[in-house]
Structure formats: C-alpha cells, structure tokens
C-alpha cells in the first residue's frame, strides 16, 4: 500500500556545500540518501515529494559538518498481510517483484492443478495448459506474510485463491 507521509531526518552536510545552494544541496543529498531505502516501519521510500521544513543547522564538534533536521514528505510503499498486489515474476520457483518488494510464492500456495515444468523455460502450467506462469508473467497475488528486515521487506504471497493468478502472460501479450 502506498502512503504519503511526512518523515524527518537529520542530514549532515559537509561545509563545502554551504553557500547559496545549501538548500538544494541538502535536498539532493536527502533524495540520494533516502529514496529507495526501506525501513521496517514505513516500508520503501519511493519518492520525496516535498520538503516541509529544514531546521536549524547545528555544527558538530570537531568535524565541521552541520546537522540539519529535515522534514520531508514522501511516498512510501509498504506491503501488508492480506494485501492484493500485482507483481512480475522474476524467478521461477517462484519469486515475483512488485516494485522493490520481493514476494515469494511457495509451491504450496499455487493452485494444486498447476504443475511445475522444468526445462529451458521453467514454468507452472495448469493441467489443461491454459494458464502458464513463467518469468515475466504478471500475476496478481495476495500477501500472506511479511518479514521485515532492516533493509528489506520480504513477503510470501499466494495465488491459491479466487481471482488470483496470472493477469498478463508475456508470451501472449
């Protein structure tokens, strides 16, 4: 799920960035630092949409670095248990990615009538061959569990439910 929230961060800026462009430098550094990161609590920071407030800088003893508390708005993406997502299959077995989130779909969470076919293009195929999941297929899946590390959110998803499964097959598209 995406959220637009305000986060705060203490940015340290090297004195060489001081001057007229201080703010720009600060923002660009913030973007560089923050975008694409993941925190367990908020999920992945997708994009910074704006700066709310830059606090007063504090010179740090000894280094000359200045610490600015920066409040910024950003879009975050955090997967939740029970959430239905669309994802792209990246690796047979199978793993899918929805943006930065990796989702694993276990054998046990794939409908029973789908069978794994190994070979050049490993894939899951239904017994009648009408549905096929392979690399780059787009699937709709439901997250049944998440594991949040410091830098990564890992999910387990299922397609063994109504209205879940392949939504777009690369071969047919």
């Amino acid at each position: 799920m995406f959220f637009h929230i305000v986060l705060e961060r203490n940015m340290q800026l090297h004195p060489r960035h001081f001057g007229r462009n201080l703010r720009e430098n600060l923002v660009s550094k913030l973007m560089k630092d923050v975008e694409g990161t993941c925190s367990g609590r908020h999920g992945f920071v997708v994009a910074i949409t704006g700066i709310e407030n830059v606090g007063k800088g504090l010179i740090r003893d000894g280094t000359g670095f200045v610490t600015f508390p920066v409040k910024y708005q950003c879009v975050v993406f955090r997967p939740f248990k029970g959430e239905v997502l669309e994802a792209v299959v990246t690796m047979m077995g199978f793993f899918a990615e929805a943006g930065p989130v990796q989702i694993f779909v276990s054998n046990h969470l794939i409908p029973d009538d789908m069978e794994f076919q190994s070979g050049d293009m490993p894939n899951y195929t239904t017994s009648d061959g009408s549905v096929k999941i392979q690399k780059d297929s787009e699937v709709r899946l439901k997250i049944i569990g998440t594991r949040v590390d410091a830098t990564e959110i890992f999910c387990i998803g299922t397609i063994k439910d109504d209205f879940l499964g392949v939504i777009n097959d690369p071969t047919t598209a």
Partner: protein, 1041 residues
C-alpha cells in the same frame, strides 16, 4: 499356612524337605484362608490386614517402640513373639512392595495373597501399609481370639485410623529413612535365577528356626540378578542365617551403605504409562530403533503388543518355512516394508487368515507372525521397548499413517506425541486449537497455564470467558504467514514463515535456505526473530572462510540448521550461495598477506577502503584473505552480514597495518624472518621506479639458483594455453612452475621454459615498501612505536657488522633480501624477538654508515642519502633514524620521495645488483652483473649448474676469478673439463636434506656443514667444525659435491 513352628529343625534342609515344605506352604495357605473364613467378621479382616503390614514400617523407631509396647501389652513377652512369629504373608508382602505393581507377581502362592489383598484392601491402602507395622503377635487359630481382637482394636483405634486420614508428608517420609541404629542391609550373592527361591528358603528357615535366625528380612529384587539383600544387625547374623543354603555363596557379604539403602527398596517410577497408541521404540533385535505403536498392553505379564513396519525378508522366510537351508547370520537387516500378502503367497508362504477372538479383527498369520494392514503385530516384553522421549520423525509417522488413510488415527497418534512435551510448552498468548474431546477444533488463545491445565480464551463467541483444557488436548495453532521459529525437533533453530498448515503439520519457508521445512505445529513458536540462533555447525562457524566443493571459497554469513549461506569469493558481484555442510571441504585458516592497489601489504584486520567495484567507498577491517580476494567487514554494509568481497588490488589500506607487530612475529616463526618479500622494504620499490629491470637482483635475494629465486616473482607465460597471462610464481618443482594467474585467481602449472624472462619487470611492484611510500602517511603512525625497539637492534647488530665486513655486508644491509648477515647474527645471539621485526626495518638502514661506507665515490652512496633526505628523513645517524618516522611521515607529500628517488637511485642500482647473484642464476637480463659482485656468492668448491651454450651441466667451482667469473670443473664431482663460466651462466645447486653444504654468506661464510633439515626457506645446518646447529636461509647454502 505359614506359621510359627516351635519344633526346631536341623539347620540343613535337604531338597526333599524343602519341596515338602513348599508343598506344606501351599497347603497351609488354604488353611489360613479357611481359618480366617471361620474366624469371621471384623477380627479376621483386621487380622489379615495386619498381615500385610509391611516390614518397612519397622524402620520407624517410634513405631518400633509401639511395637514393643504392643508386644508386651499383648501379654506375650519377649522378643521372640515380637519378631519371630511372622506369617509368611508378611514376607510376601515385602515382595509386593518391591514390585510397583501388585499384579505383577508370578508366584502362584503370592498371587493368592495378593488376591486376598485386592479383595480386602482398597488399592490405595498399599502405600499406607508402609506405615503400619507388623502385627506383633500372630496367633494360632486356637489362641484367644478375643484378646487379639481387643488388642487390635485398641491399636487401630488409635493409630491406624488416624493415620489413614493423614497424608504422608515429606517430613514423615524423611523420618522413615534408615539411620545408624537401624538394622543394616547386606548384599549376598546367590545363584542366578534363584533369588526368589533363596529368599523363600530363608523365610522358611526363619519360620522353622525362629529366633535363632537373627535376620530381619530378605529381599529379592526382580531387576537384580545374582544377589539378594538380607536385613540384619550384624554380618555374623547373616552368615549364620545363610549357612547351609545351597543357593547362597556367602563368601562375600557386602554391607549396603545407609545412603543406598533406600535405593534398594525404592521403586523406579514407571510413570510413563504405556497406553494404546503410544509411540515407542524397540530396544533390541531386528527392529532395534524402529518406531512402533502400542496396540495393547498386558500389565500383568509385562508384555506389550506393538505395531511395527515389518522388516522381513520374504525370500528368507519362504526358505525357512519350507525347511530349506537358511543362512544363520544375516548379513543385513531387511529394510522396513509393509507386508504384502500376495507377494508372500507367490513365494508359497502359507498365509492364514484368522480372527482374533478378543478384538474381532482379522490378522494374517504368516509363520507365526501376525500381520494386519501390512503392519506386523508383535508382542514383546515391556523391557524391550523404550517409551520415553520418543520423538518420531515426520517420515516415520507418515509411514504409519499411509496404509490406514485414516485421519482420525493420525490425530490420535499425534496427541500421544504430546506426552513428551517439555514443561512450559504453552505460553500466554499462544494460539491453540483443541484436538481432542468435545471441544475439538475450537481455537483460542492461552490465557494461563497451570500444571496440566491450560486456560484458553476461546475464539468462539458464546462460550465462557476462559476454558480449562488439559494440555494434552491442545495443540498450537498457526496460520499461513506467521513467522515462526522451530524450537525443538530436528529442525531446531530454524525460522521461517508458515506457508501452509496441514492439520498439525506446518510447512515453513525457511528464512535462510528458502526451502520448505515440515514441522509439527507443536515444535514451533511464533517469533519475529530471523536469525537462526545457531552460529556453528560442526567445525564451521559463522564468518569462517571455507573452501567449497568446486574450489570456490567464501565466508559463511549465516548459519541455518542444516546449511550455510556463503558469500562467495567473487569480487565482481556479491554472490551468495546456500551450502550444505557436506559441500564444504574445509575451513581456510591460513593467514595470507596480499597487496593492495598501492602495493601495501594487507593482512587480516587491516582496515581497507574499497576503491572500485560495486561496493566502492566501503571501508572496514579485512576479515579474510584468500587468493587475492579480501573479505571486508563493513558494519554499515547491511547485506551479507556486513561482508564485502573485493579484490585486493581494488582496495587500499587505510591507516596503519595493525597487525604489523605480530605479523612480524609470525613471519619470524614461519619463515625465520626471511621470506617476507611483500613487506620488505623500500629499496626495491625505488628501483622499480627508477629502472625496473635492474631491480631483479634485489628481488631475487641474490640467491642461488633461479628456482627459489623465482618463487614469488611475477612472470609472464609465453607459451601454452595460458600464453600471455601474468602471474606470480608460487612454487617450483623441477621443470614445472606453478603460477598464480593475476587475472584468474587460479594457480596453473606451466613448464618453466614457457615463462617469460623479462617478467621481472612487474616484480618490483611486489615489494611494497611502506617506507618508500611517503604518501602512505597514515600507515606510519602505527609503526612509529615500533621504532624505538628497532634502534638498539641496529646499533647492536647491524652496525658492528657493517664495519667489519664492509663490502659484502653493506649490500645485504641495503638489500632487504639479504638481511641475513646482520640480523642473522642478531638472531643467533638468541634474540629472536628483536630479530623478528628487523627485516622490516632493514630497509631503513641504508642511510646508515654501513651503506655509505662501501662505495666511496661511486656516487651512489650519496644518492640514496640524498634521496632519503629529500624524503625528509633525518639521515645522519641510526639513532636519529629511529625517531625519524614520526616527523617524517606527516611532512612527506606522497609523490615526493618517489620521483627523486627513482632518478637518484638508478646509479645505485647496478651497484646493488651485484650482490645478488640470484640474478646470475636466474639468467635474467641483468647484464650489469659481473662487476664486483660475486664475492659473497660464488665460492670455490660449491656445486653449480653451468649453462653454457644451451646445455646444462653440473660443475664444481674451482676458483673465483677477480672479474666475477669462475673456473668451473665440470662433472658432478668436478672431474671433467675446466671451463670459465660467467656468473650469469651458473646457478647454485640447491642442497637437499643431508647434503654437505657450504655457507656462502653471513658470519659463517665459507664454513662447511651438513644440511640436516629444511624448514620452509630455512635450512638447519650442522656446522662441521663446531658441530653447532644453525638455522640459515637456504639461499645462502650451496651444495658441495
């Protein structure tokens, strides 16, 4: 009936007599029954009860007194009545106590009593009987029944009734323990299998002889063969009592220590009740270790019927049934397989189908074995199964379930598993499901746990707030997506996410291995923990560097219960693979040193910064080094447990090398302080900058033949599949050279002739001198402290030597590779510690007098000096030098020392060159050689390899000519022609163990000896004259013919 006999019998009873007695005994049993029937009413009952009163009670002092009182009160004075006239039943009773189970008795006679017992006394009395004492008087039927009755009534009105209501407390129990004043227990050996019989004999004897036998009781334990216990005050009493008994070998009578007395009679608690469906394991026989399920328990006969997966070799069975020869000794245990009746029939094995009269089930009877649904039903002794701590594995249970296809039975089986659960299994908040009883499938949460009962808050509405459920009826409940940790069983320690729940089995996706694990819901707890908890499997621990199957290597970055995650040593990209224990070949513990981009030596624990590649900019201590690949630990790096794999030459060392100090020590121990090319010194480096080709001399340690000198150098391969590759020579064996390719991180073997000669160009780079690297400012501080300890060394060791041995020595002093002379002395003086560090500093010495001394006017003496001073080093004296580094460091801008140095050095180079005869041997370029160098190296009498006009021959140097060339007598013992050979055409023949040698350098130059051993690059030499044993660098040893 067992009764007191007043007549005295002979001590010795013959067998017939005994039998007769037994007979009598039986008869009298009946008598007693009848008597008691006649005696009627309460009194008889009472009396009989009292009969069962146990001897154990006697241990209670207080009661003993009572006992006596009673005895006297009863008008039957004397000890005799008190002790002697006991009924046989009392003895049997004792036995009954020994066995936990009243129904276990095998003896018919006993059974009679027991039956009585069961009829008259409620079961729970059994325990309490312990606290009553034997009835002091056992009347004959003719005795005054009334009096007896009165006395009994009086007695039980007082004690027994009250006692009945009391719970025995711990304290009371404690009071019953035997003390020193109580009779002792003696252990007496008797014939095996006759324990009971012996006890009965003694009883009979007691009955017959009465008070003469001063023993108190006899105990035969079922589980103790070969011994019986006799309770008596004195050993003599025991001897007396056992005298003449056939079954007793009274040779040795052992006293049972008081402390152990209770153990003799305490009953091993058989708390594990074997009930139907319990899982057990077979302890003996073909099925040893197999899982079995109890189907029937016969407590009386101590037998259990179990259901097993048969291990039957049908063919063998068929053979046996048909009377054919059967191999006695089975070579193998047949694998467990379900019995297939049809198969059996095909082998003409007779299969009978019978109906079990008790259960009504049909069994197939094959050769006396019963089968049903493919399972073998086997009746075994309780002793041959173990029922404790049975943890059936998943597969085993699966097998048991397969044929029946009965979900219900599986559930039952599972619930029996719960019997083995640990305490504290359920915790508040656990989600549970009821698996048994009316509330089956009710889900809820644990609210409170009491001993056996778990209070749960049911999920369903309309139920009481909490329900108390026996913990055996509960099972943990999980839902897909839960993150759990396995806390018991084979997969203990693993964590993962529940993917699927199949009844009480969970399928978990392991966090680390990304594999599916099947576990019992019971074995897991919900946990957010991701680590595995285990950091070690076998000898491999987290963060170890390991060599894998396919010769790749890596660092263990995570340990799962059965696998490791290994960050492979592939610098281009982080590559993590999952490795099973068996795929690991070994742990790599050897410490290597490598060089970073700027040729600084990097060793483990040094902090490096990564200059290129995916992890550019990261920085951290080096944890492992292998094959030129560094594993750097950056705690800010959040992937791969903080480990980064990088090529050594895409890193640069930051700060000083921490481990320098010990590295020296280490190198000292390993190489005798010699072979430390990488950390050697500045000079070669300078050379390299100046005029690379010339550097070789320095590089090659002025050594003897090209062989060893080649080791460690960088060469280019000219021919063969690896043509064009460059690499470092790691080893030389005969004609083949093992070269570690720079570009491929692997070692290849190539023919020596395929190696390009001018390779050496690159070699100088190997010799990184920290010193020379003025730029390496950060490195220096760390070294500074070392210097002070250098100074004295140089003064003591080096300087005098320089003075004494000018020409040769200076070279060595200057040439890091020839540090032998000064340090050697030093070392031989028995100061290894200081020596250890010296090679490193050796380079620093050039400025010293030694250096300047030799070459007056050559211009090079000054050059280096100039060079050094340019670098800002105080040059003048050694002591000053000692302090030098610190001031020097900061002031040195990086490039500075280099540039001038190269220029200024060139002139010096040729000078340096000479001292390194290695060059000659190497037949490497250096045309420069020859001038004044051989002095130290080629000596008369040594064996050399002469390579003239393409062919190689052995020869013995006869004379060293002033121009450096030598007169060599060809032939391995110098018997051939004499030729003049240039040093470049000669190679010293490396001595082998137990060769005669001549020392070509150092203070012992010219001395001969015998090489008695080789240790790395050091040779252990016994000097001929003094018979002293010295350790010298092999390089300065030359073989004698």
């Amino acid at each position: 009936m067992v009764r007191r006999r007043d007549e005295e019998d002979d001590d010795v009873e013959d067998e017939d007599y005994e039998d007769e007695d037994d007979q009598l005994l039986d008869d009298e049993d009946y008598d007693e029954d009848e008597d008691e029937g006649r005696g009627g009413g309460g009194s008889s009952r009472k009396r009989r009860r009292s009969d069962f009163i146990d001897d154990v009670a006697e241990e209670d002092d207080e009661e003993d007194e009572d006992d006596d009182d009673e005895g006297y009160g009863g008008g039957r004075g004397g000890r005799r009545q008190n002790k002697a006239p006991r009924s046989g039943s009392q003895f049997f009773d004792l036995e009954a106590q020994v066995d936990s189970d009243d129904e276990e008795e095998e003896d018919e006679g006993e059974d009679d009593f027991i039956v009585d017992n069961g009829a008259d006394l409620p079961d729970e009395d059994v325990g309490r009987r312990l606290h009553r004492r034997p009835l002091p008087l056992r009347e004959d039927e003719q005795e005054d029944v009334e009096a007896l009755e009165r006395s009994i009534q009086a007695r039980y009105a007082r004690s027994s009734h009250t006692e009945y209501d009391e719970e025995t407390t711990e304290v009371e129990q404690q009071a019953l323990l035997p003390s020193v004043r109580d009779p002792k227990l003696w252990m007496v050996k008797c014939a095996i299998g006759r324990e009971r019989e012996t006890a009965v004999c003694l009883m009979q004897k007691y009955i017959d002889k009465g008070s003469e036998l001063q023993i108190r009781s006899v105990i035969a334990l079922d589980h103790l063969k070969n011994y019986i216990y006799i309770e008596a005050d004195k050993e003599a009493h025991v001897r007396e009592a056992v005298k003449g008994l056939r079954n007793i070998f009274a040779t040795k009578i052992m006293l049972v220590p008081i402390k152990e007395m209770t153990d003799v009679l305490s009953v091993e608690s058989k708390a594990i009740d074997l009930s139907r469906d319990t899982w057990v394991r077979m302890k003996i026989g073909t099925y040893k270790g197999d899982l079995a399920q109890v189907v029937d328990v016969d407590n009386v006969r101590q037998r259990v019927t179990v259901k097993l997966i048969p291990r039957i070799d049908l063919q063998a069975l068929a053979n046996k049934l048909e009377g054919r020869e059967v191999a006695k000794k089975k070579a193998f245990v047949p694998p467990p397989r379900f019995m297939n009746v049809d198969e059996a029939r095909e082998l003409h094995i007779r299969v009978e189908r019978r109906r079990d009269p008790m259960t009504g089930d049909y069994f197939e009877n094959i050769g006396g074995m019963l089968f049903k649904d493919g399972f073998l039903y086997k009746t075994v002794s309780m002793k041959s199964i173990s029922a404790q701590n049975i943890k059936p594995t998943f597969d085993e249970l699966e097998k048991f379930r397969t044929p029946s296809e009965n979900g219900e039975s599986e559930m039952v089986g599972l619930s029996t598993l719960f019997a083995n659960r640990k305490k504290g299994h359920f915790m508040k908040g656990d989600a549970v499901i009821v698996v048994k009883g009316d509330l089956k499938n009710l889900k809820g949460w644990v609210e409170k746990v009491e001993e056996e009962n778990v209070h749960i808050r049911p999920e369903m509405k309309g139920l009481p707030k909490t329900l108390a459920v026996n913990e055996k009826e509960l099972c943990k409940y999980f839902e897909p997506g839960n993150h759990v940790k396995v806390v018991s069983g084979t997969k203990e320690g693993a964590t993962g996410m529940v993917v699927k729940v199949e009844q009480h089995v969970l399928i978990i996706l392991s966090d680390t291995t990304k594999e599916h694990i099947r576990v019992f819901a019971d074995d897991v707890v919900e946990s957010s923990e991701v680590t595995t908890g285990v950091t070690k499997i076998g000898e491999y621990e987290l963060h170890d560097l390991v060599l894998l199957d396919n010769n790749s290597f890596g660092v263990i970055i995570r340990v799962e219960s059965e696998a490791f995650q290994v960050l492979k040593g592939v610098p281009e990209r982080p590559e993590v693979s999952l490795v099973k224990l068996r795929e690991i070949k070994c742990k790599l513990e050897k410490k290597f040193n490598v060089q970073d981009r700027y040729r600084n030596t990097v060793s483990v624990k040094d902090v490096v910064r990564i200059l290129e590649g995916p992890c550019k900019g990261k920085q951290g201590p080096v944890e492992h080094i292998y094959k030129g690949v560094l594993f750097v630990y950056d705690r800010h790096h959040l992937e791969h447990a903080g480990f980064i794999c990088a090529k050594a030459d895409s890193c640069c060392i930051v700060g000083g090398s921490r481990s320098n100090g010990d590295r020296n020590g280490e190198s000292f121990s390993r190489f005798g302080g010699f072979k430390t090319p990488p950390r050697i010194p500045p000079s070669p480096r300078k050379f390299s900058r100046g005029g690379p080709p010339f550097d070789t001399g320095g590089r090659h340690r002025g050594g003897r033949g090209g062989h060893d000198a080649l080791v460690g150098t960088t060469v280019k391969i000219r021919q063969g599949p690896f043509k064009g590759y460059r690499g470092r020579v790691v080893d030389i064996k005969g004609q083949s050279v093992r070269v570690e390719l720079e570009s491929q991180m692997k070692v290849v073997t190539v023919d020596r002739n395929f190696i390009s000669d001018n390779v050496v160009i690159s070699t100088p780079y190997r010799d990184t001198s920290r010193y020379g690297m003025g730029s390496e400012t950060p490195m220096h501080p760390s070294r500074t402290p070392l210097h002070p300890y250098m100074t004295p060394m140089r003064d003591a060791g080096a300087t005098p030597i320089h003075d004494g041995m000018r020409t040769p020595m200076r070279d060595r002093a200057w040439n890091p590779y020839a540090p032998m002379s000064p340090p050697r002395d030093n070392w031989e003086e028995g100061n290894p510690a200081s020596w250890g560090t010296s090679p490193q500093y050796q380079p620093g010495s050039p400025p010293s007098r030694a250096y300047e001394a030799p070459t007056p006017g050559s211009g090079w003496a000054s050059t280096p000096g100039g060079n050094y001073s340019e670098a800002g080093t105080p040059r003048d004296s050694s002591s000053a030098y000692a302090n030098a580094p610190s001031p020097y460091m900061p002031s040195t801008p990086s490039g500075q020392p280099m540039t001038p140095s190269s220029g200024s050095y060139i002139p010096g180079t040729p000078g340096g060159q000479p001292m390194t005869p290695g060059t000659g041997g190497l037949d490497i370029m250096s045309p420069v050689i020859g001038t004044d160098n051989e002095g130290p190296w080629f000596m008369p009498d040594i064996l050399v390899n002469v390579r003239k006009s393409g062919d190689e021959t052995l020869g013995v140097i006869q004379e060293v000519l002033p121009d450096g060339s030598c007169k060599v007598a060809l032939g391995s013992n110098g018997s051939g022609d004499t030729v003049i050979a240039l040093p470049s055409e000669m190679e010293i023949v490396a001595p082998r163990k137990s060769d005669k040698i001549k020392i070509m350098g150092g203070s012992l130059r010219g001395v001969t000896g015998k090489l008695i051993g080789v240790d790395g690059t050091d040779g252990i030499v016994r000097i001929d004259d003094s018979l002293d044993v010295k350790i010298l660098d092999l390089v300065i040893l030359a073989k004698l013919p």
